[in-house]
Symmetry: C2
Subunit: 282 residues, 2 copies
């Protein structure tokens, strides 16, 4: 028996579309609906049968029992405002955004004031590819999903959300939003930022000559990450601004330190720094 | 028929040992000899039959027809001096080092003065793993090998070296040492350096909590690269110092630019920078 009657995915990109496919594969909902401003994406999903209904106006939808927001952060507020006009109290709303800063604080207040349920998620899942054509039904299988600020919703909402992710094949971990955002700034967000900086710093002639094709895994990984959705990552960097600035300052300090060691040919210090780095992740 | 009578590998680490296995697999030499200061590595290779002879003193070896130096750069000079005392004119010496700066200029002079043959190689091959136990017989298969400053040796030496790498399963590309070192500083070397900086900047508590295990490919790739041999990379950074300083300065400039855009919440500029990066590698 499906756990849900109607799950609504808002934002039918690679992440949202993969979620539809995973829900379908695991038979978690009688109906899968999706909203997107891109009507081609909706048609593609309908045609390929990983959604049952397309929603083109959030004011005119059938009542869902779970809504998952999968758009870039900058469209959250307008979406939430429309949802709140329409949703009843039994509907749980979650999202899969990568940072849980100011936008989430505003949204939580809106839900609290309207007496409706919101509990945020962050699946440790991703790809540099964007768009509904890159969706995969196993995208969320054997992955970790953070559930953020568990106590900001009822226990019932928490268990509903936890059991949803587990039914998809993920493992859930609880984390508070502050720790989450700091952790992301020091890992995923800074890794993406460094790849954008790496590729920006790569002279165009190297790329024109296709030389990266001759080169190793590190460079290919930077190029892959730098292909991530520009809108999505602009939103993430700004939504997690304070933590990212702190992490960037740390990176700048360490860059200056090793640059100075190389400039002065300080063999002993460089080797000791690299050895410490080597040992750090043992 | 094997092309060579006796190939000597100097430095029996992951790269040198994998070369022995590749030579054996492709039946390129009647004998495979190896020199290393680590006698355990030699015994391991003998026992596992991917070398035929161990050389513990370069002054007392059987004459090889090809020598491949696979040690960190900082031991090149003392090795070359010993080799030159012993080698005859028909022997070709090459190396697989990642930078071809000052050390190589000195070595080329020594060979030129002694009227013996040296032509440098750089296989675009590698792994963060060090040591003879991580050797693989397919390490050099379908890879690119740069042959450096082709005209610094005779045409016969060039064809000998080129046909060796092709027989191993690689494709060769010619490049001059200056272009090579600049290219490496902007790609492989800076990618490694950024990974060392990334891991150095990672707070220890994240590592202690094993949180990287929860996280994505970008971080795993940084951690993997930061595991690369500290001695080898110290030598590379110092041997390619001027180019690396230039590339680091470029990275620092771009880091400061994007940091300032984030600090001032300049959404339009960040998005445009990320979009340009996205398009750059199309």
């Amino acid at each position: 028996m499906p756990k849900f009657n109607n799950i609504l995915i808002v934002g039918l990109g690679m992440m949202g579309g993969s979620l539809c496919k995973s829900i379908k594969k695991n038979k978690l909902s009688k109906k899968i609906s999706a909203f997107d401003t891109d009507h081609d994406a909706l048609s593609y999903a309908l045609k390929n049968k990983f959604i049952n209904y397309k929603v083109t106006d959030l004011g005119k939808m059938e009542q869902p029992d779970l809504v998952i927001i999968c758009t870039p952060l900058s469209s959250y507020l307008s979406i939430v405002k429309k949802l709140l006009l329409k949703l009843n109290k039994n509907t749980l709303v979650t999202d899969i955004g990568s940072s849980k800063g100011g936008t989430h604080r505003t949204i939580k207040k809106l839900f609290h004031n309207s007496n409706k349920s919101f509990l945020s998620s962050h699946p440790m899942v991703g790809s540099e590819k964007s768009g509904v054509k890159f969706t995969r039904k196993d995208m969320y299988k054997n992955k970790v999903v953070f559930i953020i600020d568990k106590d900001s919703a009822s226990r019932a909402s928490y268990f509903k959300l936890k059991s949803f992710w587990e039914a998809i094949g993920s493992t859930t971990h609880e984390i508070d939003s502050k720790t989450h955002d700091l952790l992301m700034s020091q890992t995923s967000h800074i890794a993406h930022l460094m790849s954008f900086i790496f590729v920006k710093s790569l002279p165009q002639n190297i790329l024109n000559d296709n030389l990266p094709l001759l080169l190793g895994g590190g460079i290919k990984e930077h190029i892959r990450l730098s292909k991530s959705n520009p809108q999505m990552w602009t939103d993430i960097f700004l939504n997690n601004k304070n933590n990212i600035i702190k992490t960037l300052t740390r990176i700048q300090k360490n860059t200056a330190t090793i640059k100075s060691m190389i400039q002065t040919s300080n063999k002993t210090e460089i080797k000791s720094l690299l050895k410490n780095t080597y040992n750090k992740t043992k």
